[in-house]
């Protein structure tokens, strides 16, 4: 079961995500954004960071990277596609997820633990969790404020105490199929007791479990 962790110029959470997935028994490989063939990967993660410096709009330039063609293909094939933070923004820009992410309500970067509530377990990220379950993991973003004029988004996780103005307090959003998910907080930062929480494991284990051989 192999997971591609995509690295755009400016991405910075790739090592953390790969480390967390491996610590949970997953097989994760870093893939440079110019890669045009993800054959042999069963799922893909777009990690957090500042792809292309977040210039123009967060995710706006990254979505044109050569690798995104393959990400689209995997999404259409129903394979697990996860975007974390900046990855979530890229998935919205590329149209794989509804809506867009704009600046936090208070126009300040927010880095702290937040509490989430599981709303929908029918996604590749929340499959191992239970509806109503509380999950505490770090948020780390300036543009974490999700807006969806079409009201078509499927909310998988919501903030218990909305920190950034996100529509419906959404912290994680999925497509109709549930195989493409974007999450603003960082599950990989919640996988080690020594660092304050292991709640993120529930999410990443769910993601790994949802992988089916290519």
């Amino acid at each position: 079961m192999r997971v591609a962790v995509v690295v755009f110029p400016g991405t910075n959470c790739e090592l953390d995500v790969a480390h967390a997935l491996r610590s949970l028994g997953g097989e994760a490989e870093l893939v440079w954004h110019r890669e045009t063939d993800l054959a042999g990967f069963d799922g893909v993660v777009l990690p957090g960071g500042f792809a292309h410096g977040d210039y123009l709009r967060t995710g706006a330039i990254a979505r044109f990277s050569p690798v995104m063609g393959e990400v689209m293909r995997m999404a259409e094939e129903g394979r697990p596609v996860l975007g974390i933070c900046n990855g979530f923004q890229i998935l919205c820009e590329s149209g794989l997820l509804p809506g867009a992410l704009i600046a936090n309500r208070d126009l300040a970067f927010i880095c702290r633990f937040v509490e989430l509530e599981v709303v929908d377990t029918g996604t590749v990220l929340t499959g191992a969790a239970e509806v109503g379950q509380r999950i505490k993991i770090p948020l780390n973003s300036y543009e974490g404020n999700w807006v969806d004029p079409t009201q078509s988004g499927r909310i998988a996780l919501r903030y218990v105490d909305d920190p950034n103005g996100s529509q419906g307090s959404a912290a994680a959003v999925a497509n109709d199929l549930g195989n493409v998910v974007g999450i603003m907080p960082h599950p990989e930062r919640g996988t080690d007791e020594l660092l304050g929480s292991v709640d993120g494991r529930i999410l990443l284990e769910g993601f790994l479990r949802s992988l089916v051989p290519a």
Binding site: H19, C111, T191, L195
Partner: protein, 707 residues
Amino acid sequence: MTDEEYASVVGLLGRTPRPAELAMYSVMWSEHCSYKSSRTHLGRFPTEAPWVVVGPGENAGVVDLGDGWLAALRIESHNHPSFVEPYQGAATGVGGILRDVFTMGARPVALWDQIRFGPLDDPKNRYLFNGVVAGIAGYGNAVGVPTVGGELEFDDSYTGNPLVNVMCLGLLRRDQLVLGTAGDPDNVAVLLGNATGRDGIGGASVLASASFDETSSDKRPSVQVGDPFEEKKLIEACLELYQRGLVVGVQDLGAAGLSCATSEPAGRAGVGMDVDLDAVHVRETGMTAPELLMSESQERMMAFVSPNRVDEVLAVAAKWEIDGVVVGTVRPGGTLTVRHGGEVVAEVPAASLADDAPRYDRPLARPEWLDRLWEAPARRLEESPDRILLRLLDDPALGSTAWVYEQYDHMLFLNTIIGPGGDASLLRIRGTDKALAVSTDGNGRLCRLDPRRGAARLLFEAALNVAVTGARPLAVVDNLNFGNPEKPTVMWQFRESVEGISEACEALGIPVVGGNVSFYNESEGEDIHPTPVIGLLGLADPVPQRPPHLSRAADGMEIWEIGPMPTGNLAGTSAQRVIHGDLTGRPTAADPAMASRIVGLAAELAHQIPVLHDVSDGGLALAVAEVCIASNVGAAITDVATDLLFSEDPHRLLAVFESGSVTLPDDVSRLVGRMGGETLTLAGSEPIPLTTLRRVYDQAIPRRMSN
């Protein structure tokens, strides 16, 4: 440049310098680049220890951590640029300190910011504070290096001249160490990163080397804009170059830009260099040779490469989507020859730009106003302890700093065991059972009252901060922020501070491995408080299973004070500042022998005790309050005289643990109270509800910034 300095350039060259040559000497011989006023004194620092791999003089200090790991550390100031433009000034300060560290072959793993402003009731100070924090966040977060701690102080003396210092820590494998050397003849100089523009022409020399009022807007160089995205690509490209052993040496382009990045590596290697300015990729047209040589455009690095590896180096640059151009060739002999438009515009002894820089032994004089301060001992505290504590908790320098550090990514890389909000930051080194602890400390008011005692106490406090995480002190970097060195009283403060730091380092047996000096911090002729800032690195080996943390106190646990009995001397304390608004008296001196003993004791206790917290700003009372707030448990402190509750006398710790679970040496420990309940009661005064404590503490900064 003074007339004498000009004369010695003429002497050196045996002729009148060309414009480009004059430009190079003027920036390289500026205070900022040449340390001409401070060098004589910096020699005092102890710099040697078996674990020192690279001491002061290189871009960053490097120490050995064992297991093949090295740590690179450095601290830098960006005070004047941050006053001109707080966001970009702070942002480019972060960019600069990162380059100093990854120039050594290290991956930057953490940042700390030490920032000082005038009081927040002045909108201009709020604007500067806000802009600086946003700039550090904007650059640090985007470049992908966590800011895991720092330090914050407010005082009138910083109103016209805020202090913005940034420290960076990097990790590298022993075989990846790279130095700023040009290596052997025929090596090729490759300029990597940003295009060169007219940014900050003479910025370092003009801004950081003259009294600020002199540098009126017209004299100020154009503001430099940071590009964290370019820097991120530059970091990854350089790390790949090191991994693949493609470079002989690397030098970052900071102050003095190309002048420094060519002459210093050549000087260090005792070689010369041919440099072709026409090859430099530029952002603006029509740049003159002096402009190209002095430009401080950000996010640029110079790599020295053996001729047969050049193509591979350029390929790595291309992969990471940054520009790389060959701009020079190393030559035998010591001559640095610069060409522009095909013509030779400079031909100078490379080493002379650094080595022959002037050195001043400036006159010193102890300020006579010190007598007046010392003769007026600090007033006693009359108010009741609960009221005093609430006023301290409401102080922006003593209350929660979450408003600052929640704007910083302080968790990236999954190493932050203890982040901002505690004493020292604690970062694990993955794949080992070691962890690195860092505390940064400064205290301008203490150092104004007694620069030698004050500076020594900073160091001991930092040592205690790292010890409570289970780490032992390893090395120090210092950032010396002072006023106008042409004033004998300022130079005296400087010498005294260096003395204090040196004495404390000797007592703890740790070296200074790097630092930075910032002079001319003054406004309207008023110098800032002498403000040495130190960053102390400690190594926890092994890291405690469960390191002590403010949040681990529980109902029923005993509260002990460890260390010498404090005196009632409130000189230079937070209580004196907040309650009386005074700055008088003479601070209590540190006791080096006691300091080492308590530091050693703390490092051991850290493996057994749930809460171990250094007693510093705000004294015992504030230390207990911080534990109550973090652990959400009340406490009662037995009868301690008010002045002792708020004393900041050195070498003291707060320890909280289950009764009988630990035995402490009784000559330096006493039971002072017990955790429990929903309130904090200080020496029988009015109990303070936890909710009140937390509200006041949490709002100290937000309530001021929101108006």
